[in-house]
């Protein structure tokens, strides 16, 4: 094994694994403090996420959102941009979905409505990211600051839209009217039922296929096209990119556009797939979760799929814990996520020097 591949193994697999285990250990300690048996909690989480069909469905449904936002953060990261506006971009993506769906007559075929509303989510997510992108490229405003601020603007905009523009006539709730069934993405349990397998119903819908498809597309785009090359070159070394005839300003705009569009897809899973109407805060937490997912997944689609699955499990497992154990509140989800982010994100490299030193004798013996 060469030094390079060994480092790749350490960075790509062993470190994330060790970090996750440490986070689990820390979560176990928290449980001990609140008088919960960690072993029993682990059993509940494992059963709740993997042990029965509905639980698996929920886990994958949550994971789908994390795949979209994880990919969004990763694409931007490859261009050296830290897009932490996934939250706002997903939210506004919901507006794109709702406007597209509500623009069509309920009698129009799903083959038109669904692709059009997916396009709506991509377009509106992209539009919400393009403004910070433009400000970064041509005005030098830092993307971290502008994308954060755009989250707040998105929040205000969506409240306005839900309260004043799209609210269902005669209703008090700040949400749109129910989408017509032609705009619903099929549930996975319905698809299985259609081919003769009966599985328990869950919110899991066709968006998960979209998530896998976009993971593949992002991988091809970044590593097998000239635009992906330009994005990665700009992210790794802007000076060299300029030398190579790449225009960083254009790359920034293109990247933010793609990043925002990917975040916008959260609305497809949430609104077309499950809620079937536009409502407030449907994207809550997924945008920020995506940052941790991308970090853990090393900004690679394959890693992001794995990390998104872990976050889906934390989400679903945390809900199960709150449901099963009286002295655990549903905020345990936030605690668990927080500890995973702390150990996988902020303390990413704590084990690296030790691990390298530990492996050094093997290296010397080769």
């Amino acid at each position: 094994m060469t030094r390079d591949t060994r480092l790749a193994w350490i960075n790509g697999l062993m470190l994330p694994l060790l970090n996750v285990l440490t986070a689990f250990a820390a979560i176990a300690i928290v449980f001990v403090f609140i008088n919960v048996d960690p072993i029993e909690a682990a059993k509940i989480v494992i059963h709740g996420t993997l042990g029965y069909e509905e639980g698996v469905g929920y886990t994958l449904y949550y994971a789908t959102n994390f795949v979209f936002t994880g990919l969004a953060v990763a694409v931007a990261f490859h261009a050296g941009l830290f897009n932490i506006g996934g939250e706002g971009q997903a939210y506004v993506g919901g507006l794109g979905v709702a406007l597209a769906v509500l623009a069509f007559d309920p009698s129009i075929s799903p083959w038109v409505v669904i692709p059009a509303s997916i396009m709506g989510s991509l377009l509106f997510g992209a539009l919400w990211a393009i403004v910070p992108g433009y400000l970064q490229a041509y005005r030098g405003s830092h993307i971290v600051i502008t994308t954060i601020m755009f989250n707040f603007i998105a929040s205000a905009l969506m409240v306005y839209m839900c309260v004043h523009v799209l609210r269902e006539v005669g209703q008090m709730n700040p949400q749109s009217k129910m989408f017509p069934e032609t705009a619903w993405l099929p549930f996975i349990h319905d698809i299985f039922a259609g081919i003769g397998y009966k599985i328990a119903p869950s919110p899991l819908n066709l968006s998960i296929v979209l998530a896998l498809l976009f993971s593949l597309l992002v991988w091809i785009f970044l590593w097998h096209t000239r635009w992906g090359y330009a994005i990665r070159a700009t992210g790794k070394n802007t000076t060299a990119a300029v030398y190579g005839g790449i225009k960083p300003k254009k790359v920034i705009i293109l990247t933010m556009c793609i990043s925002g569009a990917l975040a916008g897809l959260v609305a497809v899973n949430e609104l077309l797939g499950y809620q079937h109407r536009l409502m407030l805060d449907f994207q809550y937490g997924y945008g920020f979760g995506g940052i941790a997912v991308a970090l853990m997944g090393r900004n690679h689609p394959a890693g992001i799929l794995v990390a998104a699955l872990l976050f889906g499990m934390l989400y679903q497992g945390g809900m199960e814990l709150a449901f099963e154990l009286p002295n655990v509140s549903r905020h345990i989800v936030v605690v668990m996520q927080g500890l995973v982010i702390l150990f996988c994100g902020a303390l990413e490299y704590i084990y690296k020097p030790r691990l390298v030193r530990f492996l050094a004798p093997i290296e010397a013996s080769e």
């Binding site: 390079d4 097998h224 070394n237 030398y243 005839g245 290296e363």
Partner: protein, 518 residues
């Protein structure tokens, strides 16, 4: 001076960095009051050895004796206390402090520094007189030239009580005149009994100033010689382990019509400061135009303007019938497509992307090429195959397109860049510092390729701070100083002394006239 005492003795010093054996049982003896040269290619282990001596690294095994006393250095402080001073390649000075303030840095004494400043002033004045190292102590160092900065560094070492001075590539940034001045200082120091260790890859300097010379190769000490008993050729052979051709044989140039014409050119750098002022020149097909000058006199900015990276502020560049002006900017992509190749000055920061694989770095600048793309997709297999053929025709080692660019040695990185730029058969080659930090074997190879391109009828613009490189490759030479052209001579008539004076813009008008007449 008594030469029989031994200042430094290293016995079997050994040092590993992971799998790299940086120093392999190195032994070295340096006599008191002599100038001892250490030569070797990049990566031969010279800097590691000196860092061990200066307490930056600890040796894995071996002994160090300074003035015949066993020493074990775990920090540079201990090394300084033992009487060793180091002058780094990059000066370690605080820009906006005065010379005096810089010298006392680290030895300020009590809460108020006025006392130690006064003490230092007296001591420095004494040292200045004794060694011929006079410097105005109250000037902020940012206002001083590099030659003077080097003196400040030497003074710093002496002030801290150094009896042994280590200088790492001290002449890299100096004009020939400043180099002469430095060597005069060396002689004065030697007279006073100071021992000097000079690390360099410039064999001519070794021959002209040192008493003994030691040669390192691949982490080993391969030879010790009395300087007056050896020759440049022998040292070069010892350094690389085989005979080497340092002077490139080249035929007369068969220059054709002008292909690149620069008129009244003004360019500002990224910070908006004008670094190129009113430059005019022409380059013909089949000739090498050398641009000489000390680092930082506008050559870098000129290169960036010629290759479309920086816009012009005034004037024009005419190439392939297209005219570039401040209003009509053509970027690097268009210029490359027109047939201008660019080997940048700084290969690590600009020439390749160190975190990319070699095959991706070999694609830089050409990722939009039609034959490398099929519809939306890059033809990755073809990209890799291209890289393999570049590697084999330019002898890049290891010939592995998947290896990360940063894992190649400097010389091989440079060969990869040169291969990428030369193999596209461009009409105009813009080349900056083609052999900086490259080992001798690769230098010879790259220089031959440049001449081969010239002989194939290409127009070559060569910027280098190595005067010897400019003189051996160019057909015509222009000299830049402070953003302007201060000399323009035929390479056959060029003479190092005159070029050196032009580089410092110190040619008197009578000398200029003579130069024009000759």
């Amino acid at each position: 001076m008594d030469n029989s005492h031994i200042a430094i003795e290293l016995i079997d010093v050994d040092k590993h960095f992971g799998a790299v054996h940086a120093n392999d049982k190195v032994s070295l003896t340096v006599k008191t009051g002599t100038i001892h040269g250490i030569v070797g290619e990049n990566g031969a282990g010279k800097s590691t050895l000196m860092s061990i001596l200066y307490g930056f690294y600890q040796a894995d095994s071996g002994h160090i004796k300074v003035f015949e006393k066993d020493c074990k250095f775990t920090s540079s402080r201990q090394s300084i206390d033992a009487g060793i001073g180091m002058v780094h390649q990059h000066f370690m000075l605080v820009e906006n402090f005065t010379v005096l303030e810089n010298v006392i840095l680290g030895t300020e004494g009590g809460a108020l520094i006025s006392e130690s400043l006064e003490k230092a002033r007296k001591e420095l004045t004494r040292l200045g007189v004794e060694y011929g190292l006079e410097v105005d102590l109250d000037t902020p160092v940012e206002l001083l030239s590099v030659g003077i900065l080097q003196r400040v560094e030497i003074l710093k070492g002496l002030y801290k009580g150094a009896k042994i001075l280590i200088l790492d590539e001290p002449t890299g940034v100096l004009t020939p005149q400043e180099t002469d001045e430095l060597f005069r200082i060396f002689s004065a120091l030697k007279e006073q009994g100071v021992t000097i260790i000079l690390i360099t890859h410039k064999l001519r300097e070794i021959m002209s100033i040192t008493d003994q010379v030691s040669v390192m190769r691949d982490g080993k000490m391969v030879a010790h010689r009395q300087t007056n008993e050896t020759s440049t050729e022998e040292l070069a052979e010892l350094m690389i382990g085989r005979k080497v051709l340092l002077n490139i044989d080249k035929s007369e140039s068969k220059s054709g019509s002008p292909v690149l014409k620069v008129t009244n050119l003004h360019v500002s750098n990224e910070q908006g400061i004008e670094r190129v002022s009113d430059i005019n020149f022409e380059v013909c097909s089949g000739e090498v135009l050398g641009i000489a000058g000390v680092t930082g006199n506008g050559q870098g900015t000129l290169l960036k303007a010629l290759t479309g990276i920086l816009p012009l502020t005034k004037g024009s560049i005419e190439v392939f019938g297209k005219i570039i002006t401040s209003d009509n900017h053509l970027g690097p992509r268009i210029l490359r497509e027109l047939g201008i190749a660019h080997v940048p000055e700084d290969r690590q920061r600009m020439g390749l992307i160190t975190e990319f694989s070699a095959s991706e770095s070999a694609l830089l600048g050409y990722h939009n090429d039609e034959h490398l793309n099929q519809g939306l997709l890059l033809k990755k297999a073809l990209v890799k195959k291209n890289c393999e053929s570049l590697m084999s025709s330019f002898d890049v080692r290891p010939a592995d397109p998947n290896l990360k660019s940063s894992n190649f040695s400097g010389g091989n990185q440079q060969k990869l860049i040169v291969a990428r730029e030369f193999e596209r058969d461009p009409e105009v080659l813009i080349i900056g510092q083609p052999t900086r930090g490259v080992d001798i074997g690769a230098i010879e190879f790259i220089r031959k390729r440049i001449i081969a391109m010239r002989d194939a009828g290409k127009a070559v613009v060569l910027v280098s701070v190595e005067l010897e490189e400019i003189m051996s490759l160019s057909d015509r030479i222009i000299v830049m100083c402070d953003g302007q052209i201060t000399g323009n001579v035929d390479a056959r008539d060029a003479e190092e002394r005159t070029l050196g004076l032009m580089m410092a813009n110190a040619l008197t008008s009578s000398e200029k006239n003579q130069e024009v007449q000759s």
